[in-house]
């Protein structure tokens, strides 16, 4: 799967209704034809597609996961609940549903680092992280995360000490994993909102760590 999106933007990526360019790429044409056909057959509602896209562009994304992490950092009882029954603890914050039906939270510590991958497809905790980035679904990451995680992390600019054990979670068909990064030094006394701004998407996949307060 090409990791080459960056070099291959469709011309209309920012202008839905602005089609002065009369060239369609193969996939633009393919998907347009499919949507036209299925709409003609009464099988899909284009407005439903708009609603799905809007949901994942504005409502469901890493900010959901960041709330979970920030709460776990501040409230030991919530962290315990998250460890024992992540699905219920996360649902209590209103995050549930598609690709987050069954959750497990895995906690980083200075000696243990967790990394999530789906070698077989692109399983990803949508309910807390939104849609997965391209690299997560691409062969380079999926192939090597399970055999050379330390080198993969280095490609994200993350160099862990050799004393830190890396544990890789290859997603099953049903369970979605959320990494709870370690709370950064200097964040003592922060509110939940302030803590949430330190939690990056990558820190919840395990390809990054939480931001230091001064780096925000």
């Amino acid at each position: 799967m090409g990791n080459d999106h960056r070099h291959d933007h469709d011309h209309d990526s920012h202008h839905h209704d602005h089609e002065h360019d009369n060239h369609y790429s193969d996939m633009q044409a393919r998907v347009r034809a499919l949507e036209t056909l299925l709409t003609a057959k009464g099988l899909i509602d284009p407005a439903a597609i708009d609603a799905i896209v809007e949901t994942y562009e504005t409502k469901i994304g890493p900010k959901n996961g960041a709330r979970v992490v920030a709460k776990a950092w501040r409230e030991p009882a919530f962290a315990e609940w998250l460890e024992a029954d992540a699905t219920a603890a996360i649902a209590s914050l209103g995050f549930a549903g598609r690709q987050g039906e069954h959750m497990r939270a895995v906690f980083n510590s200075p000696r243990n680092h967790n990394l999530v991958v789906c070698t077989l497809c692109s399983c990803y905790p949508w309910a807390v992280l939104g849609l997965p980035p391209v690299w997560y679904k691409a062969p380079a990451y999926r192939s090597r995360a399970v055999i050379d995680p330390r080198a993969v992390l280095a490609e994200f600019g993350l160099s862990l000490s050799n004393d830190t054990k890396i544990r890789v979670w290859d997603s099953t068909a049903e369970l979605r994993y959320l990494v709870i990064p370690t709370r950064p030094a200097g964040s003592e006394g922060f509110s939940e909102d302030a803590l949430a701004t330190l939690v990056t998407r990558d820190s919840m996949i395990g390809t990054g760590v939480a931001l230091l307060p001064e780096a925000r």
Binding site: M27, I49, L120, G130, V146, D202
Partner: protein, 341 residues
């Protein structure tokens, strides 16, 4: 299957190239591809395991050359054709040439938030103890199925220790092929939840969200069967089945009705006559006995099969069930008197 998707442990794809401030979508068509994939999933015609398997079957060179949304679209093409929603010719041309399968539901804009927030839980009740417990030493299987599996090649034939029992879920290796059973058990995934109001094989279509369009015209005929006299229905008007065979009987009837074997009024008359036979239970618990009798009667009246043939087939299935070892699938070949037909 050992397909191109089973990437764990392979080499040669180069370094991971994370993109700084990556947008959610890189092209307009990716948004439509996401929406089409989820909308088609809402038909209820296949499960997520089957759709994963459709993607795994993309030829390796194509799979590895495609972006992930392209993989999804190729998978959707396969599924739409396999389930009769669109023919390969229609998918190729983009033109609507013939009527296709009727979905259980069409996702409309106002259904989106409910559908996404419900998701598709895949846990199933388990009525037996898990075979392995934390601390047990195990060795994974070394096998090469041509069908779907979630055991990747790099993890086959490996020794390990069970750390946790995460719950009981439908077994994807079977579920991908329409044989969803509880993992590690022989109970059909289906038998208990049905009692509390399982989805009907067909649903009423609501076209109100798409005014002014000739929508779902081919799909409207099954509606009438949901209004069969006495049929238990949910608040939304969907049939409720207490047993899987009730749903099967309903689906067969819908299918024959769709194919024009009998009209609505013929059906209503046949069913009504059966329901008013002396000896029917007052609480309606034998409602579907009457349903099947009405269906059998109509099949005989229309020359599809006489009642003796249906009865002989029923007895053959009963003998087959008796002769099948507990936990094994019941096949009619197991009937000791069965002759290949």
């Amino acid at each position: 299957m050992n397909g191109p998707h089973d990437l764990g442990g392979q080499m040669g794809f180069g370094p991971v190239a994370p993109e700084v401030n990556e947008p959610y979508f890189h092209a307009e068509w990716e948004k439509r591809a996401l929406g089409i994939t989820l909308s088609c999933g809402a038909f209820g015609a296949w499960n997520i395991d089957e759709s994963r398997h459709a993607r795994e079957n993309i030829p390796p060179a194509d799979y590895l050359a495609a972006s992930y949304y392209e993989v999804w679209i190729r998978g959707i093409d396969t599924l739409l054709a396999r389930h009769g929603f669109a023919s390969p010719e229609e998918l190729f041309s983009g033109r609507d040439l013939q009527p296709g399968t009727c979905p259980k539901r069409v996702l409309t804009a106002e259904m989106v938030s409910g559908v996404l927030s419900r998701g598709g839980p895949c846990d199933r009740p388990l009525h037996s103890e898990p075979r392995f417990a934390p601390g047990d030493e195990i060795r994974t299987r070394n096998f090469h199925p041509e069908t779907h599996t979630r055991l990747p090649r790099y993890a086959r034939g490996k020794r390990g220790v069970v750390e946790a029992v995460q719950g009981s879920f439908v077994f994807p290796d079977d579920n991908a092929h329409g044989k969803g059973k509880i993992r590690n058990g022989s109970t059909r995934s289906y038998s208990r939840p049905m009692r509390s109001g399982a989805r009907a094989p067909t649903r009423r279509f609501r076209s109100r969200s798409m005014p002014g369009r000739a929508i779902l015209s081919v799909c409207e005929s099954p509606t009438s069967l949901s209004q069969s006299p006495g049929l238990p229905v949910s608040a939304e008007g969907d049939p409720v089945f207490a047993e899987p065979w009730h749903a099967q009987a309903f689906a067969i009837t819908v299918h024959l009705h769709e194919n024009g074997l009998f009209t609505w009024s013929e059906w209503a008359a046949a069913l009504s006559s059966q329901l008013h036979q002396p000896g029917r239970a007052e609480d309606g618990h034998d409602y579907f006995d009457g349903w099947v009798a009405a269906l059998t009667g109509l099949m005989a009246a229309k020359g599809i099969a006489d009642e003796a043939t249906v009865l002989a087939l029923q007895q053959s299935w009963q003998r087959a069930a008796e002769a099948t070892k507990h936990g094994s699938p019941i096949l009619r070949e197991n009937d000791p008197l069965h002759l290949a037909d």
